[in-house]
Structures are given as C-alpha cells and as structure tokens.
Symmetry: D2
Subunit: 315 residues, 4 copies
C-alpha cells in the first residue's frame, strides 16, 4: 500500500504533467495496424486520478473518448475469474512472456498455452472462457455492465466501427486464435471468439471514466466492491509482472505501480489503497505502450512518492 501524502498538491502536479506532455516533441508513433486508430490526432494527452470517496481530478483532454483496446483485458479477466474462478488457470499461465504482445514463439514451444491473460493469446483464451455458456452478445453485455458499474457511468459503450476495422485487419489475432484452436485451447470457432474479443477491445472511454472504472482494484473504504480482496491483490500482481508486455519490467522499474496498457494509448495504473490513475496519449513506444503516458506516470510516481516498493510513501 502506498500512502497518499499530499492530496492537496495533486491538482497542481496534474497540470504540470499535462503541460510537460503538451510541450514534448517526441510523442511516439500512433498504432497504424488498426485503420480506425491510425487517424487519431497524436497531439492529445489526458490524465485523471480517481480516489475512493473523492472527486476525480483531471488535466488535459480527459473528456475525449478513446479506444481502450488491451486495457479491456483487465475487465474481461475480472469477469472471467468471477465466472470460472481458478479453473481459468488451467488454460492460461501467470508469467511474463518476455516476448511481444502478439508473439507466437512461446505459444509454439509451450503447445498452445499462453503465458498470461494480458498478452493477446491469453486474452483471447480469457474471452473464449467467458463464452462458455454465454453468447457473444451476453458476454459483451456482461462486460459493459461490469465496466459501467465500476465506473459508475452508464454512457460507456463499444465503438462498432473500430471493432469492424479490427475484424478486417486483425490477421495476427486470427493467427493466434487458429493456433490456439489447433491445440484445443479454444472452445468456440475462432471467428466467434475473435468477434467478441475485437468488440471488447473497442470499448470507448474517456480518461475520467477509465480512472473511475479502476477504483474496484484500489480497494479500501469507499471503493466499489466488485471482486474480493484476495482477487484484487492477484490482479494487481498480474498487472505488475505482465501488464505492459515485454515492457512490464521497465514500467515496474520506472513507475513502481501495477498498470495495464492498450495500443489506443491508454494506461490504467493502480495505487493500491489510494488511487486509480488513467493516462492517455495515442503515440506508442516500441513495446506498444503509450510513450507520453508512461513518461507522465513516471513523473507522477516520482512527485507523489506513490510506489508499492517505497518504504514510506515517498517521504
């Protein structure tokens, strides 16, 4: 648990970080393999901090909706664990992969068992597991209800155009799904599981909504109780070791907090017991994580002292 030492300084820190991001020249590279995302204006940046029982603080373009993409894997994982419990781990591991988010190398060496639920192959398996006994419509409905309840916002929706765009171009994901199926680790037709997966990735949220939606992983008094305390810890552990693909170690080293990124440029970061932080900037670093978002989180952690590895909350 990190200690929330200086809450009254937070608004100024957020403005400062947003100003620095706006002034940055190197903004990374917008993901171009999903046509609908390639057109996003890279000059956007937002940050939002939600704390249980307190107003959400924001800076920058925090009211602009963006595609949360792989951040959705977090919500689908929570949903899957709620439905299947530890049975899920029969089909997917809990280890960092050491390879890129869409790598097939380990999947071949390990005979179709993905390393963790946050790389694409693992998230496809998670989605497939939720589709046991649920239609795609029902599964996506359950996911939206979960996210809306977490965020306390009924307006959150799926952008069908983005989902359709990825269905047309997501050949790497089709390769992963068919490969999983060839090893018997996909129960449904690849098209069905991927259809659901692409829609789940196409959830759109603003930074404010995303920060709020992360509160259930903060825990403590005033946070929504959607999963058990034990599960909160485990999901946070997975975010720490696996949440940024083969850049997870770097994020833990620089930021020191569990987080999950998406190629839409969003990152959700949890300060256990204290806050949920969402950042968004569309340009990506070479791991496929938001370049300015990671930088902003590094600055926020340094200036607030928030870190799960700190002895005393940064004093």
């Amino acid at each position: 648990m990190a200690v929330d030492t200086a809450p009254d300084l937070l608004p100024a820190i957020l403005q400062e970080i947003a100003a620095e991001a706006r002034a940055s020249r190197d903004r990374g590279k917008v993901a171009d393999y999903i046509p609908e995302l390639a057109a996003i204006d890279p000059d956007q940046f937002a940050i939002a901090i939600a704390r249980p029982g307190q107003p959400t603080l924001t800076a920058g373009d925090a009211a602009v909706p963006f595609s949360i993409q792989s951040v959705s894997k977090l919500f689908m994982l929570a949903l899957a664990l709620g439905r299947l419990g530890d049975r899920l781990w029969n089909r997917v591991g809990r280890e960092p992969s050491g390879h890129s988010f869409d790598s097939m190398l380990l999947l071949e060496l390990e005979k179709g068992r993905p390393r963790n639920p946050f790389i694409n192959a693992g998230a496809i398996v998670t989605t497939d597991a939720v589709l046991e006994g649920a239609t795609p419509r029902e599964a996506l409905g359950a996911l939206l209800r979960f996210i809306r309840a977490a965020a306390g916002d009924e307006a959150i929706h799926i952008n069908d155009r983005v989902a359709a765009s990825e269905t047309t171009t997501g050949h790497r994901n089709f390769a992963l799904a068919h490969y999983l199926r060839s090893h018997g680790n996909l129960s449904n037709p690849p098209e069905m599981t991927l259809g659901t997966y692409f829609h789940q990735c196409a959830v759109e949220m603003t930074c404010t909504q995303l920060a709020n939606a992360g509160l259930f992983l903060v825990g403590g008094a005033g946070a929504p109780r959607l999963v058990s305390q034990a599960r909160i810890r485990r999901i946070n552990a997975l975010m720490m070791t696996c949440g940024h693909y083969d850049g997870s170690g770097d994020y833990a080293f620089r930021v020191g907090l569990p987080g999950k990124s998406g190629v839409g440029g969003g990152i959700l970061t949890i300060v256990p017991g204290v806050a949920s932080v969402a950042v968004w900037s569309p340009g990506l670093n070479h791991y496929g994580n938001s370049h300015l978002g990671t930088q902003a989180m590094e600055r926020l952690a340094a200036r607030t002292g928030w870190s799960v590895f700190g002895p005393d909350g940064g004093v």
Copy 2:
C-alpha cells in the same frame, strides 16, 4: 507499503508455518548439479523476520548456514549500481526473460545482452562490471563488506569448497560467459569473471543473517541506509518482476512481495517499510526456487496480510 498490523502475533505465525513445513511430504528436489550442494539434508526448514529496530524473529533451523547462491545477485547488483550507476543498464536489461535461469535462447536472439541482472547471464555481466577497476579479491572483499554491514554481522564468509565445486562443474555458466564474451559483453577473461561469480554465489549465511541483511531494502526509520530510497524502489521492482526466473509471475501472484531466490533453497523477501523475511529449505520446485520456502511465504503473506498489492494491509 504494507502495514504491519499484528506484530505480536508474528511469533506464533512463524512457529505454525515451521511446523507445517516440517510436516510436509513433498519437499521438492535438492539441486544436484553442484556436488557440494547435492549432499544437503533436505529435511531442513528455517524462517526469520527482521524489522528495523526490533529483534529478529525466527523458527526452525535458523542458525544453520546455507549457500545463498543466487540471492547474492541482489547484493552484487546493489554494489554494482553504487559503483557504476545507470551505466550498468547499457549492458543488461530490466525485463523478465520468460525463460529458465540459464537459458541461451534469448541471449542469442538479443545478441548477448541479458534480459535482467537476476538470471545467470545478467548476474555474470553485473559481476564483470564490478571487476572494472577491481581485482576479484577486491570485488569479493567489497561484496562481503556490503553484506556484513547490511546484516550487522562480521562472521559472514564465503565457502571456498562450494566455489571450487561449482568451478569444476559449472559448464552452463562457462557457456554463458564465453557467449557473452563473444558478443563483447564481458570485459574480463571468462575464468576471472566466473571465478568471482562462483565465490559470490558461495556466500554462506544463516536465515537470521539473511533476514537481517535484507533490511537495507526495507527502508524506513531504523533500517541501514546503504542505498538511496530511489534505488531501493528500483531493486525491489526488479525482484518483483525478475527475482524468481520464469517463476517470478507465480511468486508475485501467490506472495505479492518482491523476493530473490537461490538454488541453495534460500529466498529473501522484502515487505517494503515493514520487514525483511528469509526462508530456507533445500528442496526446489521445477523453476529452481525453494518449494517449501515459496509455500511458507505464501502462508506468511496470507496470514499477516503483507502484500504490496493489498489495499489495507490485509485487515
């Protein structure tokens, strides 16, 4: 930071955990590739908890010295960072490898740059870096001084027989060192760097000494100040994502605390701001980490509520 909620219950919890370990039938498998270690009695178990400014609590065989092996990588890393600072990261990464502790696969794909300082290849590079401008004797002297200062115990020493045993049989490490050298990522002759490396791994400590030696990573009032606060966080982050080889994700998931294991059966775990915990039991699981030690730490974390991912210290 975790909260130290019930210090007065700790002695009873430790006794309970030691009793459970003693009663366990599945004790894992003692490492057999270092002849001197293969002869260790597998029926041993110890646990020790050190807290800044308080007496160290122990249970089991906490006064029996054992070979700390790869736990030494932690101390050598701290020493190397103190001497070279961030220059070290030019030669070694900060990412989990996803492969076993002595794998050559990623080392080949990534042209001789080890993934992190806690797999063998990375630790060999760390040792080699400390040997810049120091003889092996000086480097090992500095390491011993560091560990003795951290533990507050001048009796800690290196077991030369274990070092000699590994020099004769450590062909996998020779392979790694020569491979690193072939890529220009070893400044000294492999024999020299490995001679130092094998001696560093052959440091012997009791569980009590090891728990005490970990206090510098706990931080907070009363802990020895051997490295800066910023560095404490970063070393803890590396322990969390990389400290148990390709079982790091599992340890984070089950225990929720940064730790570093060795094939001698020891594990050092940090509860930031609260405690340093050492466990020892010689039998290993298939990742090469102590089987009963991991189990004991999982129980300790569950019963104390200690976890960097918990919202409120487990209350």
Copy 3:
C-alpha cells in the same frame, strides 16, 4: 545421374519390397488431424516405378487412390515457377527449415518469409502466387491439367470431401495463412488462398498415376518436357534438401534421392535420368512422412544402387 543397372531384376525387387512391407509390424501412425484421412486402413502398401518409354512396374495396392496431400506442393511449385519465374523467390526461401512442417517459430523470427516452398507456410505462399491473376477455379484447373499431362491420365481428380474436411479442421494452416497476411506475404484473403490450397492437397492419385506424374522430373529422352532442364535440377535440389520437412537430412542419408512426401502416406522420389518412384503406406513416422514408404525406398535404393551420391550406380 544414377545408372539403371539391372532393369530386369526390378519386378522381383518390387515384389520382395512389397512382401516385406506387408509383413512389417510397425506401420507408423495414420494422420488423425484430417478426419477424412484418419479412417484410412493402415494395412495398405503400394510401390510403382515409371521409366521414360517403358511400362510402369508396380507391386501392392498400386491401383488404390489416396490423397497425395503435400506431394501436390511439387506440382504447384512447378506451375508457379512456370508462371512467375524467379520472382517467386522474393516471397519464399530455398533453405531447409530445421523445424516441423507447420512450425511458426522461424516464420516469426524471419518476419513472415517461409523458408522453402515445401513446408506448409511456403506452399501457401506458392499457391497464393499462382492466384495472382487467376481465380481459385482457374488455378486448380491449371494444376489438374499439369498433373494429368504429367501422368498421361485424364482421370486424376480432386476429392472435395477431403478438401472440405481440411477446411473445417485445418486451424494450423489458417494460423499460418493469417500470419503470412499480417506480414504482407499473402495477396489474397486467407480463406481464398487456403480454399485453393486445401483442394490442391486433396488431389487423389494411385501409386501408378503418381509415379507416372513424376516422369517430368526424371528428364532424358522419352520423359514429358513440362519444365526446362535447368528447372528440373533446381526442383530436384529443393526436394533433396527440403522435401521431407525436418526429416529431409535423414531421407537424403538413407535413400540418397530427391523426394517429396505427404501426410496421406505417399512419397514421390526421383532417380534423375532413370526413373520416378511412388510409394504409399498411410502410417507416418514422427516427422510426418510415410514410415513403411521411407523404409521401402531405403531398400529399393540399396538393392538397385540408385543414388545421386553413388560413384557408379552401386556396382
């Protein structure tokens, strides 16, 4: 060139080999991943030898049609080279892969460029190349015309049930095709290229027909001239180094002749300047090549002296 030393002994040698195959207890394992093939009676064996200008010799079940599967890659390669010439090599290599026929490992490391046209990924690219400027129906028509002309037999056809069976279950091939497409090395939709590919694999031939169809690669007087002499040599070279997947070295070592196998249990082997030999037995060895077929070819080569590596035809 091998020397055809003892043609009058051939009928007796064939009968002997067929008798030995029939008496064999270890017949390998019939491919079970294509449902239509899993039902084949494993107790079948056939061998046929075609020589330019001479009657085709046979033994065993040489009139039973079987699915030629990957042997078809040979004919499609000849067709593709005829249409595209050396442009084909921009998209696929000419090296043995050292990995199994459906491996994705090298395909990932080499960014979607298959090692050779005889592993699945490479054959899918070859088929895709033939589909430039041709509909699937036209491409398959051209392939059938080529095979029928080579074999001098208009009755050769495609088994639609086998093709349909593989379309339903061929997830590994779908994975490869989507992966190729994600790297821009597939011009057509994966479904279209694979539809064609599965139909090409579903060509049915008897051993007699297959031996006759191989005559165009034997060359010399009396052989059908479907491709140039230079191309005959190059296709034979590819068969030698890549024709049996990661068992190619073993086939070259034991048989000493260029060949191409299929999971239907057929193998076509060329004795340059002398003969085309087809064997068929459905049970496969662990490389996915006909177990008894390989054994029969090893015996045939030993007894006839046929080998491209022999100094004097085995005298």
Copy 4:
C-alpha cells in the same frame, strides 16, 4: 552420378572462371573473428579439379596454402565413422539445422544434441568422439595421416599459429563446448576437445592438395579407397543437406553438388564418380561461405553440366 562430358574443355573453362573471379568487384568479407585469418589478402582466387587417374587441373592461386577450417570437419567425420561406426549418430544428428553455424538456439531446444556433424557443435562432438581412446596428439596424427593419404601428399600440415589464435578468441566455440558438456554430450574437458578441434581447423592446404584430398569421396575406378562405397554416399548426402550451414539449400539449388565450406574461404565439392573440385577465395557471403567460390562453382556446374540432379549430364 554425373557424366564427364567434355574433359578436354575443362582447362579453358577453368581459366575463364578464374578470370571472371579476378575481375569481380564484390569479393565478400574476409572472416575477421580469427585474427590470423583477418590479415589474408582478399584478392586471391584458386580452383582445382582432380579426377581419378588423371592430372589435376588448376587455375589461379592454386599453389597458395590456406586454412581449410571447417572443410576439415569432413575428414574428421570420415575418421570418426571409421572408428565408431554408426555409434556416432547417438550423439549427433543428420539434419540441416536451419540456423547459423554457431547457433545455440536448437542446441538448447534439443538438449545438447547437435543437428549434424558440419555445424560447429556437431563437429566438436565428432572430434570429442575420436578422442575416446586417443590423445589429442594421436587424434591429430590420425587426421593428418588420413588427409595426406587422401591427397597423396606428405607435406600437408597444421598451422599452429592459426590454432593458437583461435584458442584465444574462439569464445563462441568455448560456449558450445561447455554447453555440450553441461548436457553430458562431451566426454573430455572442453579445453582438450577444443584444443584438438582448433588444430584440426588449422590444417593448411593448397587448392590442388584439397582437390586431390577429396578424391576418396568421388569413388569409382582409380580413386583412393579410404572409406566404403556406402559411406561415400552418406557423407556426400550430409554434404548436400548440411555442408553450407544455413546456406546449404542455396548451394544445392545453385550448384547441385555436395560440398563443404570453411570460413578460410575454401569449398570442396564432389562430382560423384567424376571429380573432386576445390575452390578458394577468402571473402565470405553472409552465410559464412566463400562468395567468389560459390559463384565459381555455380558457373562450373552450369558450363560442364555437372549436377547430381541432371538427367543427362547437362547435354
């Protein structure tokens, strides 16, 4: 067997090829990782053709001695097969590796069993096998006697300076040897086996001597009978599929004859039943095979019609 169609044209063809090589601008890159070889003048080229019972034809610098390096693996393999017979195959495979000559990737995946005796790891095992029951001096003595007998030339010797140079710098080979030893696939201390291996690679020969030394693999009347006919075929088969590392497929495709290359720039190629051809030019292509040497062999094969895959000797 290839047919020797136009022997009287050979001298002119050789002069022509040597002239073309001399005029070539792109000469490849001299191996720089063995200091003694890095200093070689790249502007040298030689070709020599030996035929049983006929005078050896040469062009270019055919009297200049060069380091045969990995071509020696061929002679050591013949020696090892003579001593151990098929027992050798318990320790090393017969398949192309698909990876570079000093790759560790497959060696790790396949637990220390090298793919074939022509990549470094496999040749180290072959040498180690010959050292069973022989001292290094005896093994090297036997190798020299074999080569001298094959070439009919007692002057052939080992260059100790080159051997010493490689002992100092051959870290990749030390890595391979220690790795093999860690898997129990090396019977002798790595230093001893590698000492022998480096001396074997340091055999020096002229192109004329090398062509003559290859005659035992040509077979037929008048060729030295150092190994059996069956073994000649098998060694030629291994040269065809594995003789040029991950460029073996390319050599088979372009030249169509079994060959073995060395990083000293030499290539020995066998035309079964007809001739043994040695070429030498120090500059290497990206596979580590002689650039001009490969080109020269491609031209020689095209102009003579020599190819094991040709129907009629190139008419």
